[in-house]
Each structure stands twice: as C-alpha cells, then as structure tokens.
C-alpha cells in the first residue's frame, strides 16, 4: 500500500512536528488525511472543520508552507512526492495542534466596522437597488467571503504589524462602504483610515493570490484607500 509521509504540528507555539504515516488514496483531501490520523493514529489531535464543502471557512491550515482550505485541497495537487507538512494558520496564536485562535481575526473584523446598519425602518418602503449600480457591483464582488482567514495568514503586513486590520476585515469594510442602504458608511471609512487601517497595505497581493474563493482583497483595499483619501480632502473624516 502506498503511504503519505505526514508531519503534523503538535502543541501550542512552543510545540513541534510529529510524524505520521497515512494511507495514500487516489482521491483525497488534506482534511481527509488529518481526519484519518485523528481517527486511526492519535485521537488527541485537535483541528477544526464543519461543512467539508468549502462553505464554512473553519478548516484552514498551513499546508506545505501555504495557507489553504483543507477540505477542498486535494493532496495530489499539493504533495507530488507524497510529503505533507501541516501546521496551524500563520499570523494567529495557536490553541493546540492545528487549531489556531481566531479571536484577533474576528476582533479586527468588528474593528473595521463592516456591520450593516439599516438606514430605513421595517415600515418604510423598500428602496430599489439596481444590480448594475457601480456601488452594488463592487459590494457583490467582495461579498462572498467565508471568513477562513487564509488571506490574513498569507499577508506579510499582518506579520510585520500585528495591529493591522488585514485583508479580510478590510475587504468586508469595502463591501459595507459600497452598500448604499447602510447607515454607517462614513464610520466605516473612519474605522479603516486610522493607524491600523487600509493605508498599511503594500499591495503585495498575497491575499488575493491565496483566497480560496477567488476574492481580491487587494482591489478592495485599493478602493478603500481612494475612498478615504477623497473623504479626507472633502473634510469628512474628522
């Protein structure tokens, strides 16, 4: 039987790699391999997943050096020589084994004010929004984020400046800024223009390069840079 040579991170930040041998299948995902290890080799292995179909964003790990959604990453695509090195996501604290602590990631999500606050009440008539409106098109392009933190983990800026809001939160803020039904649009710009905000981004595009659902946070952040600069010139950012 063909086997895979799998190195798995164990413990917290001070931990190390443990070697496992797992059966190589014709067709299997990285998450399948992790699950096989947990069920057959060491039941104390901690990791996270839920949907297994690329919807929930909870299974992201670092595979052979790159952050990936493991439930949709085929082993054959990332480990040509049968070797896998699986670690928790980079740029986040490690709870145990392959489970990273996503609290900083979601705190920043809130700090970027990507929340929707309705400008009208439920009794008010609906305002028609055309799908071809430029703002709506921009919001649509950014909206399908599954909160997997793959981009956050790939971003060098987050590593260099830990307070930086990061690509996912800013991408969400860009969608909120472009939602014309949103009542807190100016608050979004204020939230993303401070020291931890969008102007930290160097446009490396590592986020866009790695986002598993093909979003382009770099593009969204560039949009925020323009929007905040315009608002500053108009004196709206006070």
């Amino acid at each position: 039987m063909k086997t895979l040579d799998v190195q798995v991170w164990r413990g917290d930040e001070t931990g190390g790699f443990e070697k496992f041998e797992a059966p190589a299948q014709e067709n299997q995902t990285v998450l399948d391999v992790v699950t096989w290890i947990q069920r057959n080799a060491d039941p104390s292995l901690s990791y996270r997943f839920a949907c297994r179909v690329g919807m929930c964003g909870s299974c992201a790990m670092t595979v052979n050096g790159r952050p990936r959604w493991t439930c949709r990453t085929h082993v054959s695509r990332v480990a040509k020589d049968g070797r896998l090195k699986i670690e928790p996501l980079l740029n986040l604290p490690v709870i145990k084994d392959l489970a990273s602590d996503l609290k900083p990631f979601f705190d920043k999500w809130n700090a970027a004010r990507g929340t929707f606050e309705a400008a009208i009440k439920r009794e008010d008539p609906l305002v028609p929004i055309s799908p071809d409106q430029p703002e709506r098109a921009a919001a649509n392009a950014a909206i399908e984020c599954i909160n997997c933190a793959v981009c956050y983990s790939a971003c060098d800026m987050v590593g260099w400046k830990p307070s930086y809001l990061g690509p996912a939160a800013l991408n969400r803020a860009w969608a909120a800024w472009n939602d014309v039904r949103n009542d807190n649009r100016l608050d979004v710009l204020k939230a993303v223009s401070d020291d931890a905000g969008c102007h930290n981004c160097h446009s490396h595009q590592s986020c866009s390069e790695h986002c598993p659902v093909g979003l382009n946070p770099t593009l969204s952040i560039a949009g925020l840079k323009r929007a905040t600069s315009k608002a500053l010139l108009k004196g709206n950012l006070k």
Binding site: N64, H202, S203, H204, Q205, R226
Partner: protein
C-alpha cells in the same frame, strides 16, 4: 528560503521596487559627494569625471539606470494599481514594468560598449 506565500509576481514586484529604492538611497549621498567636489574647483570635479570613464564605473552606471527605471516603473505600477479601476490581477503591469526597465538598461549598455 523564500516563504512559499511570497512566490508570486506581486511580491516580486514589491521586492524589486523596495530593493531598487534602497539601492538608490545608498547612491544618493555618493552622488552629492561627487557634485560637492565642484566646490573645491573645476579641476577636482573634472578629475573625478575622468575617473568615472573606467569600465567598473560604467558598469555601475548601467546598474544605476536599471535601478532607476525599475523604481520608476514600480512606482507607476503601484499608482495604477491603487488609483485606476482594475479587475484583473495586474501581472501584465509587472511584466511591462520589468520589460521597460530592462530595455532602458540594455539601451544604456549598447550605447556605452
């Protein structure tokens, strides 16, 4: 070793831009030092300029032009990336930038040798 997350053209473009910028920053004081020799009279500056005719200085000049054009095209690429609407990943911009810098460097090379 380069972190795998950095192995894509956007990161190479960033590196080229940053390193050429640093190179130019190192060159600038030398440039002022050379110009400063004029204060001590034309002869001093002229003898320095004669010295720059040696092949090593010529070679350094080519590198300088490549750095300058790489930094210029890198800057233009960034401006385009952040101020123009774009929908595709801008790999083309990077190639165009690299192409122009290389062309500028080569033009210098053929003029000089």
């Amino acid at each position: 070793m380069m972190r795998p997350t950095r192995k894509h053209s956007g990161y190479w473009a960033f590196l080229a831009h940053r390193l050429s910028g640093l190179g130019l920053a190192l060159f600038l004081p030398l440039h002022f030092l050379a110009l400063g020799t004029a204060i001590q009279g034309a002869a001093k500056l002229n003898s320095f300029l004669e010295w720059t005719e040696n092949p090593l200085a010529k070679f350094a000049e080519i590198i300088l032009v490549i750095l300058l054009s790489a930094h210029l095209t890198g800057g233009l690429r960034l401006l385009a990336l952040e101020f123009l609407p774009w929908s595709e990943r801008q790999k083309t911009w990077i190639s165009i930038g690299a192409g122009i810098s290389l062309a500028a460097g080569l033009a210098m090379l053929f003029n000089l040798i």
